[in-house]
Structures are given as structure tokens and as C-alpha cells.
């Protein structure tokens, strides 16, 4: 059984470490580095795993659907950045969740005004599984680097922090996948990109529960 005197002795020992310098990057800097790394790794993996030249970069850039995908994913990612700041800083406002709304709005408006007539299941039978699997794969290095950055913060809700990291990594992975994605139906994007992000979010929550605990 531990007594209050034990605690007093412990406090005295801890106090002797006052002023000892701790050199560590700030949470903001670590998070920024983690996000840049996840963007770079997603794009690098796309170039590595897919034949980008086949589609043609100019044709891709001229495609409105490409811009819809990238805009919705990067807007979601921007909201995810604010959420990640919230998740690693105790006492910040949970209002940060509002930051996800713009990205969700773009996805929903795009899906509601979809007049392309393209199937929600994509152009081929393997569209759905290959798209979801590709986005999840592209997101995994980003998930690792964002989780590592979060450990430099003070996550007081490990599972939630991990989920936020997963959602952010998933959105970045989705933006990277847009470069090679051949399914231009907005309904397809709104549904299956979201499913892929949800999978990475769930993985992040499971991993974060362990790795973000301290």
C-alpha cells in the first residue's frame, strides 16, 4: 500500500528534474512533417504501383472528375489536419470536428448532382475491390507517419486520435489514388472512397488505442 509520504518523496524526486532541457520538436512541427511524409509516400506509391503514363498526365489534368476527387479528398484532409491538432492537444475544443464538413459537403453535392450516368459499381467488375484496396494500401505509410507524429503530442483519447490519423491518411491516400483512378462517376467516388477511408480510420483507431497510450 502506498502512502501520501511515498507520494511526497516521489514529488521531491520529480521536482529535482525541473529545468532539465528536453529537446524535442513541437507537436505542430512533428505533425506537419508527418503529413508531408504521408503525401509524398502516397504519390510515390502511386507512381511505383501503377502505370501513370498509360492514362496520360494531360488528359488526367483536363478531366473534371479528377479535380472533383482531388478537391474533395484534400478538403477532407485539411479538416483532418485540424482534427489531428485537436487530438494531440489536451483541452482543445471538440468543435474541430466541424472542419470535416466542407469535405463531406463536396462529396455529397458531387454525388447528388451526378449526371454522368456511370454505374456506382464502377467501369469493371473489379473496380470496387481494386479501388478500395489501392486507397487503403496507399494510406498505410501515411498512417504510420501520422501516428508517429501524434506520439509527439499529448493524445488523451488514444483510439480517437488513431481514428483521426487514419481518416487523415485515408483522405491523403484517396487524393493520391485519384491520379490513376479510372472511375469518374461521382457516386462511385463518394461511396467507395469513403468506404476506403472508413477502413483506414478503423485501422487507425485499433492501432492508436495501443500505440498512442502513454
Amino acid at each position: 500500500m502506498t502512502s501520501t509520504q511515498d507520494t511526497d518523496r516521489m514529488i521531491h524526486a520529480l521536482a529535482r528534474q525541473a529545468g532539465v532541457p528536453q529537446s524535442a520538436p513541437s507537436y505542430g512541427a512533428a505533425l506537419a512533417a508527418g503529413i508531408v511524409l504521408s503525401l509524398v509516400s502516397a504519390v510515390a506509391l502511386v507512381l511505383l504501383l501503377f502505370d501513370v503514363r498509360q492514362a496520360g498526365l494531360e488528359a488526367t489534368l483536363a478531366n473534371a472528375a479528377f479535380h472533383y476527387k482531388v478537391a474533395s479528398m484534400l478538403t477532407l484532409a485539411a479538416g483532418g489536419v485540424l482534427l489531428a491538432r485537436f487530438a494531440g492537444r489536451p483541452g482543445s475544443s471538440a468543435l474541430a470536428f466541424i472542419a470535416l464538413l466542407p469535405g463531406v459537403a463536396i462529396l455529397l453535392v458531387g454525388a447528388a448532382t451526378d449526371v454522368s450516368g456511370l454505374s456506382i459499381l464502377g467501369v469493371s467488375k473489379v473496380s470496387v475491390p481494386s479501388c478500395v484496396a489501392a486507397i487503403v494500401t496507399l494510406s498505410l505509410p501515411g498512417l504510420a507517419s501520422i501516428l508517429a507524429a501524434m506520439r509527439r503530442g499529448v493524445p488523451t483519447r488514444p483510439a480517437l486520435g488513431g481514428a483521426v490519423a487514419g481518416m487523415l491518411a485515408g483522405a491523403i491516400g484517396g487524393a493520391g489514388y485519384a491520379i490513376v483512378c479510372k472511375n469518374d462517376g461521382a457516386l462511385f467516388v463518394a461511396l467507395w472512397y469513403t468506404v476506403a477511408m472508413a477502413i483506414v480510420t478503423g485501422m487507425g483507431a485499433l492501432i492508436g488505442r495501443k500505440t498512442l497510450a502513454w
Binding site: 511526497d8 525541473a18 529545468g19 488523451t156
Partner: protein, 194 residues
């Protein structure tokens, strides 16, 4: 609350300048506040309060580890509150896990205990029946009536159409016989398991 915010935030800044006394004062103040909250929480939830001091220390160590990650430009109390809350949830979950471990009875474990003969209630009943079967029928009827059915000597005598004295004597002989059989069985199991 505002005064406390100011004092504690100032002590957190003093720690960075190497002011050990101010930091010790801060940790002591926080420990005292935590102690009150945690003890009342534990006693209200019916848990043992002797864990309280351990939980206080867990929170203080967590705070100490993370002290430099507090942004000086932001309020200290909400930051501290989130850390305390996290550490309390963590402590509760850990102790819940321990309680579950103490209470958890796996099926294999239960079978190991339950399947050993003579360990459970059913085992005893079996033993009684097998011991009684070793008696002559007259003695068996008397023992069953007196010891198992719980009848009186007079009732037993009336039921078996004999005298109370005979019932007593038969019961006495039956007990001797059972005791001898039990001794024999005990020495057998002893020699079987040296």
C-alpha cells in the same frame, strides 16, 4: 479557478526556468486536489480506497512526462484536466482488467475442478450411495431412514416394524462398518498415491 489557473500556469513556467521549489509546490498542490477527487470516486463506486495513492502517482508521473508539451500560450487548467481524465480512465480500465482476471473462470479451469471425483457435491452423494451399497440390507434401510431421510428413531422403528432398541443397535453397527470401510479406502488411496 482563475486564480488557480494563474498560479499553476506560472509554476509550470517556473519549472522551465529550473525552479524546483515552485515545481514541487505545484505537484504537491495537484496531488492534494487529486487525492480528494480520487478517494471520493473510489469510495462512491464501492472500490477499495487504498488504490487512491497509486492513481495519484500515476497521474503525477504522466503530467511530469508531458510537462514540456504544454503550450505556454494556452490555458493550463483545461490541458491538465484532459490529462487527469485520461489517466483516471486508464487506471480504471487497468483495475477493471485485473478484477476481470481475478473473477475470470475459464471453462477448462472449471472442468479441472468439477471433474475431480469427490470434489463436488454430486461426488459426495455418489460416495454415500456406494458406501451404503456395501452394507447388509437391514443396516442400509436404517441408515437411509435416519441419516438421509432424517426420520426419528421411533419413526424408523415403526416403518421397519421393529423396536427402537434394534434400530439404535443396527445403526451403531452400520456406522462401525462404514468407518472401517472408509479407513480401508483412505489407506488404499494413500498407497496408490505415495
Amino acid at each position: 479557478m482563475n486564480a488557480r489557473e494563474h498560479i499553476w500556469a506560472e509554476a509550470m513556467r517556473a519549472e522551465r526556468r529550473g525552479d524546483a521549489a515552485a515545481y514541487e509546490q505545484l505537484l504537491g498542490d495537484i496531488a492534494a486536489a487529486l487525492r480528494i477527487v480520487i478517494r471520493s470516486r473510489l469510495s462512491r463506486s464501492g472500490a477499495a480506497t487504498h488504490d487512491a495513492e497509486d492513481i495519484v502517482q500515476e497521474v503525477l508521473i504522466g503530467l511530469h512526462m508531458m510537462r514540456r508539451r504544454w503550450d505556454q500560450d494556452r490555458p493550463f487548467m483545461p490541458w491538465l484536466h484532459a490529462i487527469v481524465r485520461y489517466k483516471l480512465v486508464d487506471a480504471a480500465r487497468q483495475r477493471q482488467g485485473e478484477a476481470r482476471f481475478r473473477g475470470e473462470l475459464s471453462f477448462e479451469e472449471w472442468c479441472n475442478v468439477a471433474e475431480q471425483p469427490s470434489a463436488g457435491i454430486d461426488g459426495h452423494r455418489l460416495d454415500v450411495n456406494s458406501a451404503l451399497s456395501g452394507l447388509p440390507s437391514g443396516q442400509r434401510d436404517v441408515v437411509r431412514s435416519l441419516a438421509i431421510d432424517g426420520a426419528s428413531v421411533r419413526e424408523t422403528a415403526q416403518k421397519l416394524e421393529t423396536t427402537e432398541g434394534t434400530v439404535r443397535m443396527t445403526f451403531h453397527r452400520a456406522l462401525q462398518r462404514l468407518a472401517a470401510a472408509a479407513d480401508l479406502e483412505a489407506s488404499n488411496t494413500k498407497s496408490a498415491k505415495p
